[in-house]
Amino acid sequence: MKLFLRAHHASAVIAAGVGLMIAAWWLAGSTLPVPQLMQGRAAPVAVEMLLTVLYAPLIAYSFGGVALRVEHGTRRSLLGPDLCLIAVVGAPVLAVVVLAAANGDGGFGATIGRDAMAFIGGALLLLTAFGESTAVAGPVLYFFVVSLLGSQPDGSAQWWAVLRAPATPATVAAAFVVLAAGVVIFHLRARQTAGERVSRV
């Protein structure tokens, strides 16, 4: 397990995650002042959304790369180590969510938790399907589109831009589904063991 975590840059990822979460909590409530003269289609977007999108390169860095290619030939299941790695990635988020809730700022905690889950899950899905470059570019491009075109004239978010809206139980649940789908698809597609592949042949 120690070698696995080292190969997947766990210490760097958790350090970066802690930095992102500290910055998000520090800047909570502030917005990116994108131009607002766009018939309401663009409105200021929360800084925490920009910070959580940076989980996409972290996921590509941690779960992809040489380690993924080397482990492609493994003969035993990597579900346990993968879940451990997910726990390492998610630990700073969980800590901030719990601390924010304890301090009476549950709305911020829910929003950042939802955004982080969605971007981590989305990055895992894209990493599995298309590779590291897409796992980075996809979420960041989604962030662009959401910030520049994802607002309604009344200030609410378009249906496809839910990550710019305050968290609701439904959107948190949807983000959790994306995270779970990312983990499951990554495990099923990127972690097929050599033994399973040989038996299919």
Partner: protein, 411 residues
């Protein structure tokens, strides 16, 4: 005499009728071209600009650089990764900059084509398509080139994942965030003039100079980075550092020219462009408002005279007060709005006080004159009488004394 090594004299392999390494259709620039164009067009169509004004439409096109810039930077980074992975492993007889430019040509072409398409779409929507001047198209072109080479430079220096993140986020943040910054001039030096322009304004040349300074510096620094990474190390290594220092100095000088700008990136438009019909002068783009201004002015002038006050004979109204005109016109096309605006502005326009709000007592007198004036006008919508004053309400007999009391501004 030593014989040249075989690789130095070998001719490159030629594949007739196709490129040796790849198809253009598989380049990232072509793959991203349609999504980039669609997103930029959506952004443009969602942008509120001054209708019928070519300069405002062109400024809206430059705002789409917030989408085009990150995408061309990403595509350029992608191309530069390939170059970086092969550089030094293949025999290349061409100079580094020719190789780099050829590699980035599809990216530059897509960026320029998307911007050109947006200009065509935006300008063809005008009733009278007009050329918006060279400044904004120049900034668009320079922006595409600068952000393309910026993306390539990041990929030549940073690791792949970090470079892609930087190539995407830095242009986005540089093009969107300054719109909310202070001091105000910082908003106008990123090549995407914010809040430009009403028909009474034109783009201030200092915006073009400052933006060209910033974008040109980004371009030159990116080229210096590329040279350091790609050129032979013994080949005039001081050149990149010297160019970088010169670029920073020149860029700083250009930006310093823009530090005098205020909240708007504009300067007043020359009154020579006004088109006058009867006693109403309007900008050519505001022709739809002619009827409302003409009818509104006739009604307000009569109401003013009905208060026992005078208006100069042959007085003309216009958006600006140049040439003795009264700056009273509106771009609204309904008469009620025109009457309301003129009732508020006429007392101030006649006394030269349109921009002077320092004296509260005088402001109150102007408001009372406006209320009196509006009370003699008929409105289709009674709610259109916008100005109210505290009691006691003025009566027509007060008009002359109020008018004498306001005096003239600047005297």
């Amino acid at each position: 005499m030593t014989a040249s090594p075989a690789y130095a004299t070998a001719q490159p392999v030629r594949f007739p009728n196709r490129r040796a390494d790849r198809s253009y259709l598989r380049t990232p620039a072509v793959l991203f071209a349609i999504p980039c164009a669609v997103l930029a067009q959506l952004f443009l169509s969602a942008n509120t600009t001054t209708p019928n004004y070519a300069l405002a439409q062109a400024a809206a096109v430059t705002a789409t650089m917030a989408i085009v810039g990150p995408i061309v930077a990403l595509c350029a980074a992608w191309e530069a990764f390939t170059l970086r992975s092969l550089w030094g492993r293949l025999t290349v007889s061409r100079s580094w900059w020719r190789v780099l430019v050829q590699r980035l040509t599809p990216v530059l072409a897509v960026g320029v084509l998307v911007q050109a398409m947006l200009y065509v779409v935006a300008l063809l929507q005008l009733p009278d398509p007009a050329w918006p001047g060279w400044q904004l198209p120049f900034l668009s072109l320079l922006g595409v080139v600068a952000w393309t080479f910026f993306g390539a430079a990041t990929a030549l220096v940073l690791g792949r994942l970090l470079a892609m993140t930087v190539a995407l986020l830095v242009p986005y943040l540089a093009l969107t965030l300054p719109a909310g910054w202070q001091p105000f001039w910082l908003r106008h030096v990123n090549g995407s003039p914010f809040d430009c322009c009403s028909t009474s304004d034109v783009l201030d040349p200092r915006v073009t100079i400052g933006s060209a300074g910033v974008l040109g510096t980004i371009l030159l620094l990116s080229l210096c980075v590329a040279r350091v990474r790609l050129a032979p190390s013994q080949h005039r290594p001081w050149l990149a550092a010297a160019v970088a220092v010169a670029a920073l100095i020149a860029g700083g000088a250009c930006v310093s020219a823009a530090t005098g700008l205020g909240a708007m990136p504009t300067k007043p438009r020359s009154a020579d462009a006004l088109v006058c019909r009867e006693d109403v002068c309007l900008w050519p783009e505001d022709g739809e408002a002619l009827a409302a201004n003409r009818d509104g002015w006739a009604a307000v002038r009569e109401a003013w005279r009905g208060l026992g006050l005078t208006v100069p004979e042959n007085a003309r109204i216009a958006p600006v007060s140049a040439g003795g005109r009264l700056a009273l016109t509106t771009t609204a096309t309904d008469v009620d709005s025109a009457k309301t605006t003129m009732a508020q502005l006429l007392p101030r326009a006649l006394t030269g006080c349109l921009g002077d709000f320092d004296d509260p007592a005088r402001n109150d007198k102007f408001d009372r004159l406006s209320v009196l004036l509006a009370s003699r006008l008929t409105f289709a919508d009674p709610e259109a009488r916008a100005v109210t004053v505290p009691d006691p309400q003025p009566v027509p007999a007060d008009a002359e004394s109020l008018w004498r009391a306001v005096g003239r501004c600047g005297s």
